[in-house]
């Protein structure tokens, strides 16, 4: 199982998913992020999915859960870089990713977090 690295930039945790996600990797990311939030007191999480070719219902649910978990640590999650084909497919699949904020790219995501980096 490959792990997704988490970078800390100021008060923001930055995650760029560059691997073909399997279920265990996403669950691991969720645990690693929760630990990192608790340890650092970060106030924002940016998840970059520019390189992610598909988001199915499991991955989508995990992303939503990451948003909920972050909130419990008083941090906001922004999902950035979703591909158009992924957005269309997610919508048709019936997933709304409710509770997760989105932005076009990492730069806009940071702005949304109030430049907390």
């Amino acid at each position: 199982m490959e792990r997704v690295p988490i970078l800390k930039l100021g008060r923001t945790l930055f995650v760029s998913i560059q691997i073909d996600l399997q279920d265990d990797s996403v669950m691991r990311l969720q645990e690693d992020l929760a630990a990192e939030l608790a340890a650092t007191g970060a106030t924002g999480v940016i998840i970059d999915i520019t390189a992610v070719e598909i988001v199915d219902s499991f991955i989508g649910r995990m992303l939503t859960m990451i948003g909920s978990i972050s909130r419990l640590f008083d941090a906001e999650t922004v999902l950035v870089g979703m591909r158009p084909a992924v957005a269309i497919t997610l919508t048709e699949l019936g997933l709304s990713l409710r509770g997760v904020r989105t932005a076009l790219n990492a730069e806009k995501g940071l702005e949304l977090l109030g430049g907390s980096a």
């Binding site: 073909d20 199915d56 499991f58 497919t89 048709e92 699949l93």
Partner: protein, 131 residues
């Protein structure tokens, strides 16, 4: 025809990658490729989680009207599904998921055939045609 085992999370990823290659070679648009790969991911996971593992068969096909497409079949020897209509209802699940896997996968493809009997395993065959 490619036949791939589904026995681990890595296998699910391999099925997705193989479906992507065949879909691209068959001339499916990027959106249609993504829909088919996403549906394949849902169905491969179902075979793994609910069926205890199984097999995926991926094949380029041509319709009677000459359209290119991709057929992907999934089969497992798991406990099977007692109520197919219920299993295809949005939000219904026996697991911890959202209950969108099977119903969502059906929406993402052009043809969807689900065969299952309790104790006899489950088979799902889907086709996505190029436009």
């Amino acid at each position: 025809m490619d036949e791939l085992p589904i026995a681990s999370g890595d296998d699910v990823v391999r099925v997705r990658q193989r479906v992507r290659v065949v879909a691209a070679d068959s001339g499916l648009s990027l959106v249609d490729q993504t829909k088919l790969v996403t549906a394949a991911s849902e169905l491969a996971r179902n075979a793994l989680v609910y069926g205890g593992g199984g097999t995926a068969r991926i094949e380029a096909v041509t319709s009677a009207a000459g359209r290119a497409g991709v057929r992907v079949g999934f089969s497992d020897d798991g406990p099977g599904i007692a109520d197919l209509d219920l299993a295809l209802t949005d939000g219904w699940t026996t697991g911890s998921g959202l209950g969108l896997g099977l119903s969502g996968a059906r929406r993402l493809v052009d043809e969807f055939e689900l065969t299952s009997k309790p104790g006899r395993g489950t088979s799902v065959v889907v086709i996505k045609w190029s436009r």
